[in-house]
Each structure stands twice: as structure tokens, then as C-alpha cells.
Symmetry: C2
Subunit: 459 residues, 2 copies
């Protein structure tokens, strides 16, 4: 199928065209996302309760369900100019390879050194911390993309950065660790002896290789127990989706510039930060009935919070030091099988995405990882970019939709989020190429074990 190439391979906005405001999809939502709850009182967390943990301005953003647009401070916009606007790429080569009438576009967020979209929120959170006169921030990281992004942002603003890195990643990904250290971060394998919750977990589970939920607990404790520090999180929270709306805003401006009308928007879903950000302005139009996009979230079959989880209040972390969030969740006790590669391994899902899914605005689907890597390699070979395993879930779904168009002959326009690169996931790629990659779908009994760890709270 030979197509003309009227649309450029890569649509770049000019720096003047870049968004000056974040898009707050909560303003559009008829059913607002459920508030965070204080686990002690069972009541919604107030700003006063949140401020010892999070920066003041970020608390305001977290609780703001009303303002549709929120200004992006000039300093953050200047930082964005270092690596944004990111290109919206027309996947001409993939279309030709698949021989599909579909038009495929991907918003590529992997072009910065952190290798993913995480930098969009990292610089915002670091900026507000700096602006509040704080000394530093703490966080957790699993696969390492978020930790790298935060290290870069903090180094730029001369802010201390303490990263609790899931121990198994710390050991298996020394290069990721060293990128963070190059950017001046202090990186501690979690669980560690440096926090009370870490010591408790080590005592209960000696030899544990850690988990994201456990690293969150340690990072929160480290933040609240030190003067001048706050905790920052790379996904799940409303504020993070707000910052990531820059992805969706840029995508929309680029599409509008060329008069392109998408039929569907596809993103991978872990905690929901990329997906929520990508879909935000489109979701607004959909909720208001102006457009009828299909909006598709893709998650791993091995960690299926949207597709097989329960919509309930749950702990955000293993140590249960965080507020409770209402979300589609597998229970904070759920841990993906050890053969699960890459990210998208968090037990829950952003409250915003969860509510939108519950309200029927979002479709969700799962794939097993070997079919995801198959799509990733096929994509890499024709489009050049070696995608992150996370992003490849969206690629797989987009390819499947494009193949359906071959059967129907429809020229659908597919837009997907390509969140990052796979440079630090070569261990998994190597396994795939050597035919050593396996899949795992949790049984209903295993999911029940996770659900048994849900708190006993109505929400």
C-alpha cells in the first residue's frame, strides 16, 4: 500500500506553540476521582495533613478538581525547552510493513536522557520544592526511569535528591544507578537499614529483594523525618497526571495543526501517569460529547489492575504509611510473578484513570509479555526506535488495531503514546531473542490473595 507523505514524518511544534498551561481533566469529570483518605480517621486528607509529605503547591494541585487549566511557571517551561516539544511521529515505515490502510502516529517521549516521559513531572515537582525553599526531595524508583528523571531535575535546580531503589533493580541495573549518581543523587537499595519501616521489613522478610510499595514507604519516612525535605512520586497521583498532560496537549496541538482527527488514543497503563496525561485533553472533548474517540489503556496480563482488579480504597505502599487511594487495584500485597520484565508492575491505578474507566470512558486490555516483545522488535526494526517494554504494550495494541483495518479496509487514525526507550532493558530483550522469555497470567486464586490485603474501608 503506497501512501503519499503529505504529513511530515515528525511533527515538531515550535517553541512558541508549546502549551503554557497544564490540562486538568478533573474539571471535566462528572464523577470526580475519590479523595485520598487518612487511614487513621477514614476521612479525606486535608491540605494541612498532606503538607508535611508533599510540597505546598503540589498539594494544591492534588486537591484541585475545578480549574481546567493551570499555568506552567516560566522556569519549568524553560526546562521543557531543553527536550520538548517531543515529536509526534507518523509511523509511515510501520504502516508500510503492516500494509495497513490505518494511519499510525506516536508521541515519542523517550528523546531525553532520562529515557521517558517521567521528566515532565520530575521538573515540575522539583521546581515547586525549590520554590518553597526546601533542601531536597526523596523518592522511590523501580525500573529506574523515574529516579533518573528526578535526579536530572534536582541536579538542574541544585536540590538534594535521595532515591530508594528497589534492591533487585539496584543490583541488576548498576548502570541505571550510576546515571542517577552522575546527576548527583544519593541512591539507596530498598529495603534498607536507614529507615524504621525498612528495618521492619528486613526483619520480617530477610533476604527480600524489595518492591516498589516498600521503597515508597521508606522514601516517605525519609522525607517526613528530616527538616526541609518532601516526598515526590512519579505516577498515580492527580498532580502527576496534571504535569503529564503536557504530552496530550502537545499531541492535540500537533494533530490540530495538520487537521488530523484521531479515531483512537492508545497508551500503556502502569500507575497511569503517561496514559492519564496523554488522554487528558481528548477525554475532555469526549466527556463534553464533542468527540467520540476510543480511548484504550493497555496493561500487562501479569499485573492486570484495570482488567481484573477491584475498584476499592487501598494502601499505596507496603509499609502503609501513605494515605489510602480509591483505585482499581490488585491489593498492596500483590506482587507480579518474577518473570515479569520492565515496569507496569504497580498494584494499583491512578484514581483519575480508575474513575474514568469505571464511568465507561476507557477500554482496557491486556497482553502477555512475549507478544509485547515480539511487537517491540518488529517496531524497532522498521521505525528505528528501540522501545521500552512498557511502551511496547501500546505498540502491540496499535499494531493489532492497524491489522483490523486491513480486514475492514478502514483508514482509521491511531494515536499512541511511546513513553520511552529500552536501552536499560536489554536483559529482557536478550532473553526474548534467545527464546528464554516466558509469560505468566496470575490465577484467580492468586488474585484473591492480593485482594485479601485490601483494607476494610468503604469508599
Amino acid at each position: 500500500m503506497t501512501k503519499n507523505h503529505e504529513i511530515p514524518y515528525k511533527i515538531y511544534l515550535t517553541e512558541e506553540e508549546m502549551p503554557k498551561q497544564y490540562y486538568n481533566v478533573r474539571a471535566d469529570m462528572k464523577n470526580k476521582p475519590a479523595p485520598l483518605l487518612n487511614p487513621a480517621t477514614g476521612k479525606p486528607m486535608t491540605a494541612e495533613e498532606l503538607e508535611p509529605v508533599f510540597c505546598r503547591e503540589l498539594v494544591k494541585q492534588e486537591l484541585d478538581n475545578d480549574n481546567q487549566y493551570i499555568d506552567i511557571p516560566e522556569d519549568i517551561r524553560n526546562f521543557y525547552r531543553m527536550y520538548r516539544p517531543s515529536p509526534l511521529v507518523r509511523a509511515y515505515c510501520l504502516e508500510e510493513k503492516l500494509d495497513t490502510p490505518a494511519n499510525i502516529y506516536y508521541k515519542y517521549e523517550g528523546g531525553n536522557t532520562s529515557g521517558s516521559h517521567k521528566l515532565n513531572s520530575a521538573i515540575a515537582q522539583a521546581y515547586y520544592a525549590k520554590n518553597q525553599g526546601l533542601k531536597g526531595v526523596t523518592t522511590e524508583t523501580g525500573a529506574g526511569q523515574w529516579g533518573t528523571a528526578l535526579s536530572m531535575a534536582c541536579s538542574y535546580l541544585d536540590l538534594d535528591c535521595e532515591v530508594y531503589m528497589v534492591k533487585v533493580s539496584y543490583e541488576q541495573k548498576p548502570f541505571r544507578r550510576d546515571v542517577m549518581r552522575t546527576y548527583g543523587a544519593k541512591v539507596t537499595p530498598s529495603p534498607s537499614e536507614t529507615t524504621e519501616v525498612g528495618r521492619k521489613i528486613l526483619a520480617e522478610h530477610p533476604g527480600t529483594t524489595g518492591s516498589l510499595g516498600c521503597a515508597i514507604s521508606e522514601a516517605v519516612e525519609a522525607a517526613v523525618s528530616k527538616e526541609g525535605y518532601r516526598y515526590v512520586l512519579g505516577s498515580v497521583l492527580n498532580q502527576v497526571l496534571l504535569h503529564q498532560s503536557i504530552i496530550g496537549m502537545e499531541t492535540k496541538i500537533a494533530l490540530d495543526k495538520y487537521g488530523i482527527e484521531p479515531d483512537m488514543i492508545i497508551g500503556c497503563c502502569g500507575g497511569g501517569s503517561n496514559f492519564g496525561g496523554l488522554i487528558s485533553p481528548f477525554m475532555g472533548e469526549k466527556i463534553r460529547g464533542e468527540k467520540d474517540y476510543r480511548i484504550i489503556g493497555v496493561e500487562p496480563a501479569s499485573c492486570p489492575s484495570l482488567t481484573r482488579g477491584r475498584y476499592a480504597y487501598d494502601f499505596c505502599d507496603t509499609g502503609k504509611v501513605c494515605p489510602l487511594a480509591k483505585m482499581y487495584t490488585l491489593g498492596s500485597g500483590f506482587i507480579p510473578s518474577p518473570n515479569h520484565a520492565g515496569g507496569l508492575r504497580y498494584h494499583g491505578m491512578s484514581s483519575i484513570v480508575s474513575q474514568l474507566y469505571d464511568d465507561g470512558y476507557i477500554e482496557a486490555r491486556t497482553y502477555e509479555q512475549s507478544e509485547v516483545f515480539e511487537a517491540a522488535v518488529e517496531f524497532a526494526r522498521v521505525e528505528g526506535i528501540l522501545p521500552a517494554p512498557e511502551s511496547s504494550h501500546a505498540i502491540k495494541a496499535a499494531m493489532d488495531e492497524a491489522k483490523k483495518c486491513i480486514e475492514t479496509g478502514e483508514e482509521k487514525t491511531i494515536v499512541m503514546g511511546l513513553t520511552g526507550t529500552g536501552y536499560f532493558d536489554m536483559l529482557a530483550y536478550g532473553k526474548y531473542i534467545d527464546g528464554e522469555m516466558s509469560d505468566y497470567i496470575p490465577t484467580d486464586e492468586e488474585l484473591e490473595e492480593g485482594f485479601a490485603t485490601l483494607p476494610d474501608i468503604e469508599g
Copy 2:
């Protein structure tokens, strides 16, 4: 020093503005680069002699000293559209950090999956091989950037790709190896038992960890001993500099678009592919007396071919299967000290760059690696991009020139080539951060040992 930001942070050409022709600087040169010699006869290699090794069209390009512009075939230009134009970035953040009146620009070639400029020539060479109806190509790789680039290009064109990877890199950089395998390449650690020259080297030096010169010998043997294969090389040759002129052409178009007049052009120098490509159109103007740019090549103090080498005919490879090239060289027997990190470790220098240097058009300087990494980390923290160790030589020189401007108060315009990213060099970054990086400058006696391996040929 507060500057206004009239020039965007990143200058992107449109796809229409991208060059449609390569720039052949040999057409401008008063003294043409010395021809390759047949080691058996001592006479210049003819097209007929070169064609069993290289593709026909590439031989033509290799021998073409006359045509100033050479058309880029449309298929290559379409591939370029996947990752080009590359941005010319204004280093506002670095300027502010240094508090310099200088204006610093860098042409960033690391934004593609191969992580460097090497892809520019890889796709051209693979295209001409495919066009000639060949089955595949063979090559060598050291640090892995070239092998990755060639794998990507071959995979796109469905061409076999066999890479001989220096054994020490093969073992220390399994992730680099697996990127190539992901793109379908066959990767063999060199020296290997698969070639005669490999077996000979193994017999003479059991336990050797290999060298670039040795891997070249194996790749050439593999190409000429199989039907339908040719050898391709990622640097040094005239044809490679020709393809890399896309860097310089884009840079010049971007500068002209904004009326920016550079005072100096700075690039790192290994075999000379990036440097030669970056400077080509500027060098043309300089030779013709239209402009008076300073053109600065930067090499590691541990492998100083331009600054301390001899200008002589030398072997291109350890196994001495290749034609002889006249170049600034340390002798094919020279091996950089084991603590040398990253690339820029080839014993010789492109004949074009060598002749231009000998004719006085180019300045050269060296830096030791710990000061280069210091500059790299400083750059990474303000500009976001984590640079390759190779590229960081240019960064160090640019920063030094910008610091001189602080003293003199001059607002010089500095343009440098940032060839690639350091994602696969974290071992070296880790060492630097841990204070375990050492420097080494070869003694005159050690250089004499290298010169003793030069062939006894007048040129």
C-alpha cells in the same frame, strides 16, 4: 549574565529544508587526500581492486575527488526522516552556568537508537549494498555504536549483517551486543576461530582481548570469502566522511536560517568521521577564502594521532589485509593504555582530515580523560543530555573556549558536534564518580614502539 532568548533552544529544520546532497570537501581541497595503496604493488588501488571488498557505488564515492555535491538517493533521505533533521541546540543553560558571553551551539546526533552519528553512513552503505543486489555486509565494532547503527540499517533493508565485535567489548558490553542482536545482526567476538586471520592472531596471542584493527581484518576476510557480501567501515574512509557531511550541511543551513556566524567549529576526532562530516561545508568556505573559521579537532591524550602521530602510509588493520592509507598515525601496532574509556582509540586518522591538518586548516588539541569526564558531568547536569565520552572531548574544548571569552569579554560563537549519548558508557561514568578514573599519556618511547610498526613505504 542574562541573555535574551531570541534564538530558539533547538533549531529544527523542516523536512523540506533537509539537504538533498552530500558535500564532498575533496572537491575544495588544493592538495587532495593521498590515495589508498595496494600493499603488494605500492600503487594506488583501482576501482577494480576495491570492488571485491566494497560496494561498487561506494568505491566510486571513495575515489571521487572532483564532484562537490553528490545526490542522496530518495530511499536514504526517507530513512533520514525517521531520525533527522537532528537539532542544533543553543546551550543557553551551559552558557548561564559558565557565565560566559560566548554563544555555544551543539549539533546533537545522539537522538536515534544507535545513539550516535554513525547511522548517517550506515544507512548509506547498507542502501548501496542492497541496491547492488548483495546478500549482506560484514563489519567490525569496538564500543558498539557503529555495529548498532549498521544493524539498524540492515534490518530496515532486510540485509544480512555480520559484526565482529572486539572481544573485550563483547564481554563488557553485553547490552550493546544484545541491541545488535535485537536488530537481527550476527555478532561474533573478535578475534575468533571463524576466520584465518582470527585463528592466526589467537595462535600468536592466546588470551588476547582483541582490538579494532584485528576485528577489521576478520570482517574483511569474512566479506571477501563469501558470495554476495561486502565489507563496510564506519569511519576513516572518504566515503564515510562524505555521508557524514549531512551533519555539517544541516548545521550550516540551520545557522544560515538565523543569520548566525560561527567563529569556531569544534569536533572530537577518532577516525575522523564525525569531525570530517561536521566541518566539510565550513572547510569549503575556509579553503576558498570566503570565511575564516577556526576549526578545532579534539583527541584523547592517550591516543594522540593528530598531535603526536606521523603523517605516513600505514596499515589500516592489524592483520594487514586492507589497503594502505596515508594518515596521521601512531602505527598499527599502537594500542591505547587499558584505562582508556570509550572510543577514539583508532591508531590513525582519516586521510582527508590528515591532509587538511597537514595543510594548516585545522588546529588539534588533546585532553586527558578525567578532565573530559568532569566536563561531561558538568554539561549533563545543566543541558540534560548525558554525552558519550567521545563527544565530551568536544564539550571540554568548547567549555574552555567559552571560559576564555569570560576573560576577554568577547561574544564568540562556538559550534560543536555532540556525536552521541553515554548510555552504554556507565561503567566509565561510575568509575569517574567513584574517583577511580585514571589518566595516561603515552611516553615518547611508547610512541616509538608504535611507529616501528609502520610499513616501509614512501608516500
